[in-house]
């Protein structure tokens, strides 16, 4: 009896959400841009383009009919490497942002729901992580433990959660005081059940917006790490391409600039989308 209404409500909420998104030009454009890059990333293996590591072309040739974005110093096709790079960047972006959000949402909700000692300890940890420059912690970890794509995702996830935790804590603090939580308590629901079925779902929306924004910053961090030579050499990455191309910036600027443009395009799409989600999903900003 109850389930259909719930599904109907959820469906209505999603429709409402897209209606609001449609009114926000930036959000809609960002959504379309992100969708285009995701489609490219998914289609790459099936496209008739050379393998990203194939070194079978003239070195440093400018964009021409055979290699539309030119080739790099090892005779690899820049077009193919750039498209494959989209997979790396999106995978790193979404997985590390997902990880960071899960940690942030859990710690933030626990701190906000239980208050007291739990809150003190979690807040202290959050403060410490806010003080350590996350980028340098990632650098140290990757430099000493060797860099692999999985370690990069893990390290970005483990160093970027404090923002989400703070937002989530504040949200849970306010949701906790609402009547339906009191009602659940009155009928004897356990803390665990109240937290996960009533409080977190209601407190979640702004955290979702922050997750999307986090995707963009994770992509930027991965590019920065790759630029400093700490990326995973087995996967073509935009940051790494820019780093490798810098030596040839005078004679062959396309090696750096083309992956650079894709990088900006992708991060921009995520920032557009995340920002309008933030406007739609967080009750405080909506009024202004």
């Amino acid at each position: 009896m109850k389930t259909p209404r719930r599904i109907e409500n959820t469906f209505k909420k999603i429709v409402d959400f897209f209606n609001e998104l449609r009114r926000d030009r930036y959000g809609l454009v960002g959504f379309a841009m992100l969708l285009s890059i995701i489609i490219i990333a998914l289609l790459v293996p099936y496209l008739p383009i050379p393998y990203f590591n194939a070194m079978e072309y003239p070195l440093l040739s400018p964009p021409n009919t055979m290699n539309i974005f030119g080739t790099d110093n090892l005779g690899r096709d820049v077009f193919s490497r750039t498209l494959w790079g989209a997979r790396t960047s999106l995978a790193v972006g979404f997985i590390s942002a997902g990880l960071s959000s899960i940690i942030g949402i859990l710690l933030g909700s626990l701190a906000g729901y239980f208050r007291g000692k739990v809150d003190d300890i979690i807040s202290a940890i959050t403060n410490i992580f806010l003080t350590i420059p996350a980028f340098f912690l990632s650098l140290v970890l990757l430099a000493i433990f060797g860099s692999s794509i999985y370690l990069i995702m893990l390290v970005i996830g483990l160093t970027t959660w404090p923002t989400t935790a703070r937002v989530m804590r504040a949200q849970v603090l306010s949701v906790k005081e609402r009547t339906f939580v009191e009602a659940a308590k009155a009928i004897g629901a356990s803390d665990f059940r109240i937290l996960f079925t009533h409080v977190i779902p209601h407190a979640l929306p702004p955290a979702i917006a922050y997750t999307i924004l986090q995707v963009g910053s994770a992509i930027m961090i991965e590019a920065g790490l790759s630029y400093l030579g700490l990326g995973d050499p087995n996967y073509p990455s935009w940051g790494r391409m820019i780093y490798e191309g810098q030596t040839y910036i005078m004679s062959a600027p396309w090696i750096s600039l083309i992956p650079g443009m894709f990088l900006v395009y992708t991060v921009l799409s995520v920032n557009f989308l995340g920002n309008s989600l933030l406007k739609i999903l967080s009750p405080k900003l909506k009024q202004t």
Partner: protein
């Protein structure tokens, strides 16, 4: 009185945070695989045992980890001694001192420029809310915000150094120029235009957004409607009220950003080949120069914590509405 108590509590907390964050780094780098000796003298397999033991003893690596940690802490906090660099055989504090002015030049000037531009453009955009100029500024801010520092640096270098040949490609000085007097400082200034521009553009969106958002929020307040109702002109409302109310958030941001500046400048320093603290840290990380890594980390953590306490104080003093750090 309670302001003093509030601040001393913050300082105690800050000290605790610094100790914890330095221990995390200390144990992480010491538990990591690889021996610093191999980065200085080559693989230990090919070295005589005497030489390896000599280095171990000299660097204090022969003692157990917890003992090394206690020695390090007491050296740092009781004697102000950050230890010796493995790589350069020089005191870490000297290495940092030597490079700090370069980093400060880059970060302080960029932050000041970004602050001024951000406040001016943010206020302008809020005044032209939803008009063409506001939309354009917001779009540019979005794009800058989505551009990694190194890419922006490379693009500026490509445009202004390589194509237009206005500015030098990289470095802090030109070795052919005199090392003293006016020309020396002019040379540094000339070399710092592009790095400072890069970092300014990287920081600008943050300041712009915070000022624009605050100003827009202020414009919705009742007192603005009142000001308009009694016939104050728009320019006066902005100058007297909106400006004053929108200046606090960017001041706080300025303080916090200065704290992160050493870390934030590292990539700019790399792109333009500047011998700053960020670069020192990067090299130390690649070469396992543990005392240098720890020293720079400590410096960064202390400045972040100290500046956030100062930011809190400044906020409390400048904003009469806040009674002893009411914003928790």
């Amino acid at each position: 009185m309670s302001l003093v108590r509030h601040t001393s509590k913050k300082i105690a907390q800050g000290f605790f945070v610094i100790i914890i964050s330095i221990s995390i780094i200390f144990f992480l780098i010491n538990l990591a695989p690889g021996d610093p000796i191999q980065f200085v003298a080559g693989d230990p397999i090919f070295l005589s045992k005497e030489l390896v033991d000599y280095y171990r003893k000299m660097w204090g690596l022969d003692k157990p980890l917890y003992e090394r940690f206690l020695i390090y802490l007491s050296n740092v906090f009781l004697r102000g001694d950050l230890g010796y660099s493995y790589r350069y055989s020089a005191p870490v504090i000297e290495l940092i001192k030597e490079r700090l002015p370069v980093t400060l030049l880059l970060t302080v000037v960029s932050n000041v420029l970004a602050f001024i531009l951000g406040v001016a453009l943010g206020l302008y955009a809020s005044r032209k809310y939803t008009k063409l100029s506001d939309n354009l500024l917001s779009l540019v801010s979005f794009i800058l915000n989505s551009t990694p520092t190194f890419l922006l640096g490379i693009v500026l270098m490509l445009a202004f150094s390589i194509h237009l040949k206005i500015f030098p490609v990289s470095g802090l000085i030109d070795v052919r120029n005199p090392k003293t007097g006016f020309m020396y400082y002019f040379d540094i200034l000339y070399h710092s235009v592009l790095p400072i521009a890069t970092l300014t553009f990287v920081l600008l969106p943050m300041y712009f957004k915070v000022v624009r958002d605050t100003a827009l929020q202020q414009l919705g307040e009742d007192y603005v409607i009142l000001c308009r109702a009694i016939g104050l002109d728009e320019g006066r409302i902005f100058k007297k009220h909106i400006f004053r109310n929108s200046i606090l958030p960017p001041i706080t941001l300025f303080m916090l950003q200065l704290g992160y500046s050493v870390a934030g400048a590292a990539i700019t320093e790399t792109v333009f080949g500047w011998p700053g603290v960020g670069r020192l840290l990067l090299d130390a990380i690649y070469q396992r120069d543990y005392p240098v890594i720890l020293g720079v980390y400590l410096l960064v953590s202390i400045s972040i914590v100290a500046l956030s306490i100062i930011a809190d104080l400044v906020y409390t003093i400048l904003d009469p509405r806040i009674k002893t750090g009411g914003a928790s």
